[in-house]
Symmetry: C5
Subunit: 256 residues, 5 copies
Amino acid sequence: MDIATVVGVLFGLVVVIGAIVAGGGGGMFFDAPSMAITIGGMICATMIHFSLPQFFGIFSIIRKTIVSKIPSPSELIQKMVNYAAINRRDGALALEQEIRNVNDLFFVKGLQMLVDGQESENIRELMTLEIQYLQDRHSTGKKILEFMGAAAPAFGMIGTLIGLVKMLSNLESPESIGSGMAVALLTTFYGAFAANLIFIPLAGKLGIYSKAEVTAMEMITEGICAIAQGENPTAVGEKMQAFISHGRREEVKANI
Amino acid sequence: MDIATVVGVLFGLVVVIGAIVAGGGGGMFFDAPSMAITIGGMICATMIHFSLPQFFGIFSIIRKTIVSKIPSPSELIQKMVNYAAINRRDGALALEQEIRNVNDLFFVKGLQMLVDGQESENIRELMTLEIQYLQDRHSTGKKILEFMGAAAPAFGMIGTLIGLVKMLSNLESPESIGSGMAVALLTTFYGAFAANLIFIPLAGKLGIYSKAEVTAMEMITEGICAIAQGENPTAVGEKMQAFISHGRREEVKANI
Amino acid sequence: MDIATVVGVLFGLVVVIGAIVAGGGGGMFFDAPSMAITIGGMICATMIHFSLPQFFGIFSIIRKTIVSKIPSPSELIQKMVNYAAINRRDGALALEQEIRNVNDLFFVKGLQMLVDGQESENIRELMTLEIQYLQDRHSTGKKILEFMGAAAPAFGMIGTLIGLVKMLSNLESPESIGSGMAVALLTTFYGAFAANLIFIPLAGKLGIYSKAEVTAMEMITEGICAIAQGENPTAVGEKMQAFISHGRREEVKANI
Amino acid sequence: MDIATVVGVLFGLVVVIGAIVAGGGGGMFFDAPSMAITIGGMICATMIHFSLPQFFGIFSIIRKTIVSKIPSPSELIQKMVNYAAINRRDGALALEQEIRNVNDLFFVKGLQMLVDGQESENIRELMTLEIQYLQDRHSTGKKILEFMGAAAPAFGMIGTLIGLVKMLSNLESPESIGSGMAVALLTTFYGAFAANLIFIPLAGKLGIYSKAEVTAMEMITEGICAIAQGENPTAVGEKMQAFISHGRREEVKANI
Amino acid sequence: MDIATVVGVLFGLVVVIGAIVAGGGGGMFFDAPSMAITIGGMICATMIHFSLPQFFGIFSIIRKTIVSKIPSPSELIQKMVNYAAINRRDGALALEQEIRNVNDLFFVKGLQMLVDGQESENIRELMTLEIQYLQDRHSTGKKILEFMGAAAPAFGMIGTLIGLVKMLSNLESPESIGSGMAVALLTTFYGAFAANLIFIPLAGKLGIYSKAEVTAMEMITEGICAIAQGENPTAVGEKMQAFISHGRREEVKANI
């Protein structure tokens, strides 16, 4: 669960809603037709831009980004060093029991190949391909979110233009000018809000999450392949540590 | 037929027209001269930017993108494995009858070369060149759509500027200010609508469609060349599967 | 003569002028001082940005883009095959008479080197350098046009700001507000018009024209060098055909 | 301590506050709710975009950029030449006393490895990795500052939209229009001010500071490795001078 | 002295000032506080963005760009061919007298190394490094000018926001609205003017000037090294001509 994302969205909502209800009033900020044109238009443009499977896939990627937990590098190294020790002591088959305690499907697949006695070369090729497909999926997800972040303000502006044209062509009662213009501006507000608080930052988080997940997967691949080559636990740990910042590595070794 | 594009455009029109007719009125949103300047100006700028053949070619590319169907990878592999089996059993000439059942011209051309007994090298060179020319055509089509997506709002703004200047220089009757400004804003609305619902998303879809079609063509090339080298059906299938995501491949093999 | 450019500019002028004169009036759209600041400012900024020779060179490049004609690939191949036949039959000196019928200076220079009996290597080096200098010139021309397309709206805005400040500081007669603001907006209109109908599309056309001319020059270079190496007409034609799309090549061979 | 940053920020505040208080009044420019939405929204978006550690790390990076001092290249060369002389005369262990006088942790780590008698290869590998991690941290810091520079005006606009909608839907008293709109514009002002005076220039300074620090670290690495290889002081100095501009080097040698 | 820059700036000032004074009035366009916020803010942001030496270095670079004269390629070739002849006839030491007639410090340094009898390899290495440092300086100068071209309109907008807020919160006398808004818009005008007539085009000119100066320096380097290798005058000239466009080279040889 990514705390920063959840806190950012909740706190951002508090800030914006606070600004809306401050000084009384604020009911006029909820306008269903204005929301329909901004969000609806954005969704339609996204459907035209991307293919249906890509479009529906974005929801699962967002959900996964917020909910799933990337294992910490030191945790991964610890686990892998243990597996290397088991492998040395009791052979690869003894790892089969450990697989039940692993949640990460990618990790499970790697261990299974280890248990099946596949060669290091094959394991690396398959797991690298898997990592590449994940990067492709994440990159598409990032592009969709970025496109939504561009489409939302655009349809907000389209909604405002529609509202302005309607208001301007009915100027009989001067007192209705203000409220008409207020409603017209709402779609621009919705578009700017959705883009700047949701879609654009979420696209950025997806990029950072993707980088972290890929690093974790590369560490797992490196560890599994080292075990498959029959290396000792220390060597396995050292190979995986090459992925971590030197500063952090020192922390693990000693507390300087 | 690309469902997402059709649904997106139709639903987008419903959303925008719904916003226009909501609350009565909406006839003033159809203004032929405003459309003429926005769409006409955009077309003229596109003609100046590109050559005549490129300009007229864009319509067929859009049509093809929406209508034509890219064969699914598994379907392609199935067909190609069958052809490999026929080739092994009855020789390349026996494939001539199969050509009639194939609609894709690129596939037909490849099979024909196979039947003619051309060498694998020659077939690959010719088909790769063909793929490259398709990519060029699609890339030009994408550039044209993107330019239209930039030119439409620009000419919308030019139309609004003309409308504003005309309105401002005739301020005798205050009640005409509103309607004058409403008409002036219409061109900006047309430009933003055309760009954000049609041209920009369609340019994106063309890019995604192009990538999918190129992958299909590369799979066909790989398959035809494998058959030309006399490989057995299993090997042909495996070579083509290298183009599909590992996850999907697993799905095909087993249901894990 | 590039039809698309001429038709685009003329038709674009018709569309914009039509929008201006529609509904009567339109004389206020011609305002010499407004034009002076928009066009003058743009020209000054372009002079500061580029060197004087680059600045004056742009006119000849634009003129050449609109007027000059790029020979069609099939025409070039036909000519070169004929020259290869003459060279085989009567020797390189017999080509001297053919030079008089060629208008393209680059083609003439290549044939002259052929007649002078220079080696294939030397000819290719010299002609490739020539192509590179042309690309440099065109690339500079494109940059100048793109800069003009950015500077014109900028100075349009500067003119509008000047007009607004002048109008706002003289608000005695309310009826003059409208006409003052109308005049102020004219410079923005001029800038947007010049950029979007002239400079930006022309920069794009220059890029497309440059690509086509470079391809033609590369075909000529390839053909001349093939003749210099004493290849037979068929081989010369085949070498040049590598530059054309396979689809078109088929057309030349047969009418499928 | 980076003088330019401090002077720039202080002087910039003076200029803007001077413009605010000039001609009397200026109290209305301080509006806590407006600040809350602009700054709060920006912070929330930044938290969603980046991970928590990255988000909190930015403050220490900014502080370090302003406070810490990058040693001048000539100073570094002088020190390293001295160390090379000590190393030659008394051996690497004699350098242990010198470490106490060095503040830079990176320099200390390098000297320590020298004293520990590690090989030149190992030292370079470790120190290069360290430099790379610093570049990564600085690059992330730059991205965060740039994102803040984009988010601040965006939330300024969102705040202005909220203010405008609220003002327009309560147009009973015309005299309140002005002050309502003034308050609405404040958030846009805050956003533009924060982005253009603080975040965007600071992102640029971080880039320049990062480049200078990396150069200093590379010079230290080069010097330490040269000493580890047992080179004489002159050779050590010459190797480090390769990083300085030739003009400056001449200055050090002679005063031409 | 770069004529185009001087003429462009002067003529641009004439055009803009002409637009200001046309129709009487124009004194309100000079407003010291408005200038202070636009130019002062821009300078402060530039100081924060860059280091102090970089910031102060920009003035000398601009001055040098306008004042200094890049020697024409043919002039350089002529001189170098003469030096090659002197070197052949009287030896390198005879060149010492020629150095006095050369103004370009880079050229002087090259000749001095020639007289000192340094090897061709050393000369090339040193001069290439010198060229690289010049490119670095020019590239930084270009970045500073481009940043100023972005900061000037930004602080113009900040000044306008301050002016608008002040005006809107003091709406007692309606006749002061116009003049208040006129003053508010002045800073936007200053920012747009400074960016589009001065900073952005000057950044472009610096890039073009840098390219020309680097080519001249590369030609000098090539010539000096050729002389140092003892090549004859003709070979020296031919080596340097490789830097000039083929068209121009022909001009020099013959007048076709």
